[in-house]
């Protein structure tokens, strides 16, 4: 691969960008985002994908859930961007999805949260191509593994490390398929969901299953959800990135609780947090960390982890980049593919 590297980034403030620069280290000593100013900015995953798909010299990053074959995901330090690799701690770039709520939480809202953190809920999360989290574990302040990203699965660590990357997730391509398979997967969730990962390279499907069992997905250990027969409405507002998985969760929950309506409004993390703070929403979705002020006013919980894939043109000869090289590229220190390949 040769020629000038065309760097494509997300907009300042985007959770995906925040997580990416934080983990890759595209920051200065003050932890400030130092992404090269010559980077083309797109404000959506699709914008990045279309740009990269059309430009042989481009490099960008997107939510793992949105990855398809119009672009090529490079391996980072030899690790492929898959949920398993993330769970195993091999693939370093991942961030959490957060929901937040105010003081007076309604019963329905609480029950919906219980569902999200249940075995059923987290199964859906995995089916959608994200990584499940264990809420009870985080409640105890334990970290279930040493994964690079897992530090954010706990509320406490999240609030402690507020300089941590804001996180923002992307929509999942698995949404459609997963939704249709939900009914059948209720029993044997772990096995079934593995094969439904259409966004991941196909050959990894079987591998995935085993990887998961090896790495001991948290899902199996989670409590199972019992419908409480509540009725009411839950307003969920916030991050566009969290929305796709939230929609599937809501659909499934409403199927189990026919008297509950869940309305999802997707308009950005800040808007979601603001809505939760102001009481306009029962749950605010965020793909970034809450600021200290926000965290003080709200309760929060992680509901999933999302990987971030580094992508290039499908015909690019670049297969693997080190985290350090990626950092140099996004800092604007490396501007030619020839250099990057070394």
């Amino acid at each position: 691969q040769e020629g000038t590297i065309n760097v494509v980034s997300r907009e300042d403030g985007s959770g995906t960008r925040g997580a990416f620069v934080e983990i890759v280290g595209v920051v200065d000593e003050n932890e400030d985002d130092m992404t090269t100013t010559s980077a083309a900015i797109q404000n959506s995953t699709n914008g990045v994908m279309q740009t990269v798909a059309g430009d042989p010299n481009a490099i960008g990053y997107i939510s793992l859930g949105s990855l398809d074959d119009t672009v090529k995901s490079v391996t980072v330090d030899g690790a492929e961007a898959t949920p398993e690799a993330i769970n195993a701690g091999d693939y370093p770039i991942a961030r959490p999805f957060v929901v937040a709520w105010g003081e007076d939480q309604s019963d329905v809202s609480a029950d919906f949260l219980t569902f999200i953190h249940s075995q059923e809920g987290q199964t859906i999360v995995e089916e959608e191509g994200y990584i499940a989290v264990d809420a009870s574990a985080s409640a105890e302040g334990e970290e279930s593994s040493e994964e690079a990203s897992s530090e954010e699965t706990t509320e406490e660590s999240a609030t402690e490390e507020t300089t941590e990357e804001p996180a923002e997730g992307e929509e999942s391509a698995g949404a459609e398929e997963a939704a249709s398979e939900e009914e059948t997967t209720e029993e044997e969730t772990t096995e079934e969901e593995a094969s439904s990962e259409e966004t991941i390279e196909e050959e990894s499907a079987t591998e995935e299953e085993s990887t998961e069992e090896e790495s001991g997905s948290v899902v199996a250990s989670l409590p199972s959800y019992e419908a409480a027969g509540l009725e009411g409405t839950v307003e969920v507002v916030g991050s566009t990135s969290v929305t796709p998985v939230m929609e599937v969760l809501a659909e499934e929950y409403m199927a189990l609780n026919p008297d509950v309506t869940i309305n999802i409004t997707s308009n950005g993390s800040s808007a979601g947090i603001e809505a939760a703070t102001g009481g306009a929403a029962d749950l605010g979705m965020s793909s970034r960390e809450l600021t200290e002020d926000e965290a003080a006013a709200l309760n929060q919980a992680n509901i999933a982890l999302d990987g971030i894939a580094v992508v290039v043109h499908p015909e690019s000869t670049v297969e693997d980049l080190s985290l350090e090289t990626i950092r140099s590229i996004f800092l604007g220190e490396v501007t030619e593919w020839e250099e990057a390949a070394q």
């Binding site: 929509e171 939704a179 308009n267």
Partner: protein, 273 residues
């Protein structure tokens, strides 16, 4: 000189054909990418992540069009009445109204969006809702309706007004029974323009209407119009095909509305002349 003739002709034709060609190209591109992906499931009543149905957004779009026209229509037409039939054409109030409507017409939709968000969503605490979206676009289309009404009223021959006054009819009766019917086609064409503006709008809605994909159950709900639906589908790169399908539907709707307006215009026009 003969050379120059053909030069201008060529230039003018080239520009005209470029414009039309560009349009055909865009429309063709969208149909090519969108029509094959249309499916019956995209018109199911409820949106699910599986069918990404555009039904809720079609309904929302229709409701927003209907409601905003219901508000902006009378206000705009009445404003036109005032401007043309009542106001002293030399009064100082007139240029102020004109300045206001001209400015309203020029305000970018993103500014409308922020305004609607600051006023309706936060100040009034309505949240992202159809109310907020409707009121925002109501203000947005108001200048369109005012100016087309004004133009239509001014183009009504004064002799008709004189005929009516001469028979002892008052102002109101003259306006409603003589002037308005004649001006109707012009006013309607403004309404069509307004509908076009609503259908194509996205920036203003994202910050006021929100983007909820579920079927509307009350005007306090958030929702999305077709254009926003298309935007949302394309955003994360998961439903790009479907978003082109929605775009195709959008264009078909716009074509349908334009056709309808021509039809109505011809009807009323032939009756009015």
């Amino acid at each position: 000189m003969t050379k120059k003739i053909s030069f201008i002709k060529i230039l003018v034709w080239a520009a005209g054909l470029f414009t039309l060609g560009m349009l055909l190209f865009i429309v063709g591109y969208i149909f090519y990418n969108g029509l094959p992906h249309l499916s019956a499931s995209m018109f199911e009543w409820d949106y699910t992540t599986d069918n990404v149905s555009m039904m809720p957004s079609i309904i929302s779009t229709l409701i927003i069009i209907g409601a905003s026209l219901l508000i902006a229509g009378p206000i705009g037409i009445f404003t036109g009445f005032y401007l043309v039939e009542y106001a002293d054409q030399k009064s100082k109030f007139l240029p102020i109204i004109r300045l206001a409507t001209d400015t309203l017409a020029a305000v970018p939709s993103i500014v409308y969006g922020l305004f609607g968000m600051l006023l309706f969503v936060y100040q009034f605490e309505w949240g992202y809702s159809h109310f907020a979206g409707i009121l925002t676009v109501t203000i947005m289309i108001l200048p369109i309706i005012i100016s087309s009404t004004e133009e239509a009223l001014r183009s009504v021959n004064d002799s008709l007004r004189m005929g009516s006054y001469g028979l002892g009819a008052g102002r109101l009766r003259t306006i409603f029974t003589v002037v308005l019917p004649v001006a109707m086609p012009g006013i309607l064409s403004g309404v069509i323009l307004a509908i076009g503006r609503i259908v194509g709008e996205s920036a203003a809605f994202i910050y006021t209407l929100g983007s909820s994909s579920s079927m509307i159950s009350s005007l306090g709900d958030s929702g999305r119009t077709l254009a926003v639906h298309m935007y949302m589908l394309s955003q994360e790169g998961l439903h790009v095909d479907e978003s082109y399908a929605v775009a195709s539907i959008l264009i078909l709707i716009v074509l349908f509305i334009n056709g309808l307006s021509n039809l109505i215009g011809n009807r009323l026009g032939s009756g009015g002349k």
